[in-house]
């Protein structure tokens, strides 16, 4: 490209493709506090349907952010956890949080 840029848009778009969407961050957030089973996640993410949860978990697993472990107990036990790679998203969560707080404060003042 002709112009030198501090921020490149493509990596931002890439990141957005992976963590964008309604339930991605809530799932990641929930998994930040440790391993979770399907029903635990379903309870944590108020309002999510099993279909949506399945979709988002598969998506995150496919992208290497989440690990899925199956234990052949009766009944079945499945545990989801963040991979180290997924944990790398924490700075993103923090910067989003910071801006979100600022934004809320700003709205309140109006």
């Amino acid at each position: 490209m002709e112009k030198e840029k501090f921020i490149e848009i493509q990596p931002v778009k890439d990141a957005f493709d992976i963590i964008g969407g309604k339930w991605k961050f809530p799932v990641i957030y929930s998994l930040c506090s440790g391993k979770k089973r399907f029903k635990e996640l379903e309870k944590d993410l108020n309002g999510v349907t099993p279909k949506a949860l399945t979709t988002v978990l598969k998506d995150l697993e496919m992208n290497g952010l989440v690990k899925r472990e199956v234990f052949p107990t009766v009944p079945l036990t499945v545990e989801y956890s963040l991979t180290d790679y997924g944990k790398d998203l924490k700075p993103v969560l923090l910067s989003l949080q910071e801006w979100g707080k600022k934004h809320r404060k700003r709205i309140m003042e109006k």
Copy 2:
């Protein structure tokens, strides 16, 4: 127990409501390099339709991230720019970029 940064999910969701979506970041990114007119943005954001651009600009303006200035020339001149508040998103862009780069690198290695 070690002290660790506590992340609240609500501010993250709030932030996502405002900057989530297909064209928000590309617009913000484009405006990072200065004032832009409608057609310039349309050209910068490869593939955006005027309808989508109008929607996202109105949205960003409503949330105080973007300023819209109209000059009553003939033909009409309209300039869009980031407000200081919108510029506060730069750290978010940076952290997303950083993660996105890491992700791309990771994909390439596979």
